[in-house]
């Protein structure tokens, strides 16, 4: 097989999102925002990710302790960490679909580097789901201020434990989960003991949204959530797992030994039975759409690399791209990308109407946003936004979402997650099938194969997500 020419693929916004483009005449402002996000993330990925993706991967294979801090600083400078923070607290006011469009672009370039940004938003959605404005607002402001200085202020979400992975993300399974991280009420706050594992961004984040439990005999109703800053006494980030792929994004082990957290750092209501778990559901309802987009991005990256390989190599004296068998593999790969994309768009829109994101777009925040920035930056205004009254309003908004609507969000997000990520793995495999053995030594293609597998596992294995679709849509609507 020989290499023969350069190659480039150029698809515009309408080729990529035909349905959104078709809505342009009806909702010009919204569509133009999505198009801007798409273009912006494309430029970011081309300029700051593709050139370093293989190098960072190779470097971490040699030195597992290396952290891509330079990339994080660039991402901060390019304001990639405040995309969905409401404008009223200084962010860019983006929505979930905007975020998903960006995830697809970033992960098509490099899933590991893209996941650094993705995991930050998982932490942020846990923070938002708590809706404790006195904690949320200062952290969001710090993120925004950090971006102005080019210093990343990142978050992680810590849910998985050594003995319980998907269990802690499932309402039925959590009752029997082998939990080890507990919060004990002490004077002025809580004492935390236990361990969290596979925490994406653990080594990079300044704040960790930690989900844990208070009563080992009543796990379903005793969940709790805390925001814990790196460096807190009794809290250690002991190691990063050595993984097969997505090496740029560390999967860390967090250890808590008599770690004292003051009462006011609790982000989930501690006095409402079972609330934390429903909040975890809101987080996953939003984040799994994002993982669907990440999977779609990986599937697209695999497609683009395979297409480039086929265009630049020959087999049996003819360019591979000119041979029908290869064209049909490429067509299937593109079809997989389209399926993944259609699913995450549907899921993100469902969440924006019925999920966590609907609260961030609540009339209260929209109204506050109408004030000029000068007023929004005044102390009294910030005090109102982070007040307990504001917290009450926001929580009420979330609690008002009917169970049926929540279940719809969860079913669609689970389906978007397992569809996009299964197709990512399928495309990664097809890319090697098309390239043959050369794909096993092609830095882009072999890396995609390693990177793709992780997304079928995290945010609840794809098997658990299939069960969620059953529970939330088929079972509840079936009479037998």
């Amino acid at each position: 097989m020989s290499q023969i020419a350069d190659f480039s693929l150029d698809l515009d916004f309408a080729d990529t999102y035909p349905m959104l483009a078709a809505l342009r005449s009806k909702m010009p402002f919204m569509v133009s925002r999505y198009e801007k996000a798409w273009k912006r993330s494309k430029v970011f990925a081309d300029k700051h990710m593709r050139p370093i993706a293989s190098e960072v991967d190779r470097r971490i294979q040699e030195d597992h302790s290396y952290l891509p801090m330079d990339f994080c600083r660039v991402a901060a400078r390019e304001k990639m960490f405040s995309l969905v923070i409401p404008k009223v607290i200084g962010g860019q006011g983006g929505d979930l679909l905007e975020l998903c469009i960006i995830f697809e672009e970033l992960c098509a370039a490099c899933p590991g580097l893209g996941n650094i940004i993705g995991a930050h938003y998982l932490g942020l959605s846990a923070l938002f789901a708590g809706l404790k404005m006195s904690v949320t607002v200062p952290i969001c402001e710090e993120i925004v201020e950090g971006e102005k200085r080019g210093e990343p202020v990142m978050l992680s979400a810590a849910i998985t434990e050594p003995g319980a992975g998907s269990d802690v993300e499932d309402e039925h399974a959590v009752k029997t989960a082998r939990i080890c991280t507990f919060a004990e009420k002490v004077n002025g706050g809580y004492k935390i003991n236990g361990q969290k594992i596979f925490i994406s961004n653990g080594h990079l984040a300044k704040y960790h949204a930690v989900v844990l439990w208070r009563d080992r005999n009543n796990l379903l109703e005793s969940g709790a959530g805390f925001i814990i800053p790196t460096g807190t006494k009794g809290f250690d980030i002991v190691k990063a797992e050595i993984k097969m792929g997505q090496l740029a994004c560390p999967a860390s082990v967090l250890v808590f030994e008599d770690c004292f957290i003051p009462e006011d750092k609790s982000i989930m209501p501690m006095d409402m039975k079972g609330t934390t778990f429903s909040r975890v559901g809101f987080v996953l309802g939003a984040s799994r759409a994002g993982v669907g987009a990440i999977g779609t991005g990986i599937a697209r990256g695999a497609f683009e690399r395979a297409l480039e390989f086929a265009a630049t190599h020959s087999w049996r004296g003819e360019r591979i791209i000119d041979q029908q068998w290869a064209q049909m593999i490429l067509v299937d790969m593109l079809r997989n990308v389209w399926i993944g994309r259609a699913f995450y768009v549907e899921s993100a829109m469902t969440d924006q109407i019925d999920g966590l994101m609907s609260v961030l777009k609540s009339p209260l925040l929209r109204f506050a946003q109408l004030y000029p920035a000068k007023i929004r930056n005044m102390k009294f205004f910030k005090k109102i936004v982070s007040s307990s009254l504001s917290t009450w309003f926001m929580n009420r908004g979330l609690e008002k979402i009917a169970r049926r609507r929540r279940q719809r969000v969860q079913a669609y997000s689970s389906a978007a997650k397992y569809t996009g990520t299964d197709l990512a793995m399928e495309n990664a495999n097809l890319a090697i099938e098309l390239a043959g053995a050369a794909g096993c030594s092609d830095p882009g293609i072999e890396k995609t194969f390693r990177d793709a597998k992780l997304v079928q596992i995290y945010e609840g294995t794809n098997q658990i997500n299939r069960i969620h679709v059953w529970d939330n849509i088929i079972q509840r609507n079936t009479i037998c």
């Binding site: 596979f198 797992e241 793995m425 043959g436 053995a437």
Partner: protein, 361 residues
């Protein structure tokens, strides 16, 4: 050709099993770090001492004198423990067997049993060799120039058997890697099979003695690969076997939703597919190894083994969950190794096309 019940073969398979459990099972992860860690030359030497490097060599040359097809059950055992080192054994046995096809003496070449594996481009497809070096006659020699990609064992070998095109015919020739005109590239970072060092080799006016040139019918490469398809398939099967065993033992220890993982029917279907693939394809591989003149059966079995290993080891990681994705557990390596093993002696996708070319044209 061979019988899987052959007594000598049974003894060698038992030896391979013991070798795998004593020597290969430990420190797999360290060996997987090549080129950041050294090649496990000491373990290769032990393989040679117990006879696994000379399976297809004549007794007069210190070998076991079994046909190449006999490697299938042997390499399946070894591959369960370390597919990369098993790949070294395949490379060595193929290269040494090919050299023996031309001459029973090794001429000026080092002996094939001197503690170093011989190199062979194991990922070459016999039905589309791509750009191979070109050779021209020059007295008692042929002069060869060109590049050969992905030569297994190249960075640690003394001898490689490489393809070339001479007068429009494909030939193989043993190449003394310390001779002038040979350049071995840097070790390649490949997806899997890290414990088998791999590199490109470039020849510039390399002079090969004519009496060591290997020709065949219809060509040397196709003839050689025909004999070794079952062995290549067996490497994939070994990886699948190990992945299934590990997933089952983990699934009996780990609980999910209050139940052992193996007791979830959704997951049992995944286990079941691995088990069914393993059993059915093993039969196909062994049967194709036992029969003569069945090229298509051998190619089909190799493709099926590769595809099943890719699918099964991907599920093998999934059944372990997050731990399966870390290097602390062996499943992630199996997934990488399996994907690469499917490409041995030609990609399944292209071999299937070649099969239909043979059937239809």
């Amino acid at each position: 050709m061979i019988s899987m019940c052959d007594e000598v073969l049974s003894q060698v398979v038992e030896t391979a099993r013991r070798f795998a459990s004593r020597e290969l099972s430990a420190n797999v992860h360290e060996r997987d770090c090549y080129p950041h860690a050294p090649f496990a030359e000491n373990i290769y030497r032990i393989a040679e001492e117990v006879g696994l490097a000379g399976i297809s060599l004549p007794e007069s040359a210190g070998g076991v004198d079994l046909p190449p097809e006999a490697l299938a059950p042997i390499l399946e055992c070894a591959s369960c423990a370390d597919p990369g080192l098993t790949q070294c054994l395949l490379s060595h046995n193929m290269a040494a067997f090919a050299a023996g096809m031309a001459s029973s003496s090794w001429g000026t070449l080092p002996s094939p049993l001197e503690g170093k594996p011989w190199a062979y481009p194991l990922y070459m497809d016999a039905y589309d060799k791509g750009d191979v070096p070109t050779a021209r006659s020059d007295g008692n020699h042929v002069v060869v120039s060109g590049a050969v990609p992905m030569v297994a064992c190249a960075p640690v070998a003394a001898v490689a058997v490489l393809p070339a095109k001479l007068d429009n015919k494909y030939i193989l020739m043993p190449v003394n890697l310390s001779q002038d005109g040979v350049k071995i590239g840097e070790p390649l970072y490949t997806l899997g099979m890290h414990s088998c060092p791999t590199a490109d080799i470039t020849l510039s006016n390399y002079k090969a003695p004519k009496d060591l040139i290997i020709t065949g019918n219809p060509d040397a490469i196709q003839e050689l690969h025909f004999r070794f398809y079952p062995a290549a398939a067996a490497i994939s099967l070994g990886i699948l076997h190990a992945s299934l065993e590990f997933a089952v033992s983990y699934g009996k220890e780990r609980y999910q939703g209050g139940k052992m993982i193996v007791n979830h029917s959704q997951l049992r279907t995944m286990y079941g597919r691995m088990e069914a693939d393993l059993r059915a394809i093993r039969q196909a591989v062994w049967r194709s190894a036992e029969q003569e003149n069945n090229l298509l059966d051998r190619m089909a079995a190799k493709c099926a083994a590769g595809d099943a290993a890719v699918r099964g080891t991907t599920d093998g990681v999934q059944l372990i969950g997050g731990y399966g994705y870390t290097r602390e557990y062996p499943q992630e390596q199996r997934m990488r190794d399996a994907r690469q093993s499917a490409e041995l002696l030609g990609s399944p996708q292209r071999l299937r096309l070649a099969m239909m070319d043979m059937t239809l044209d």
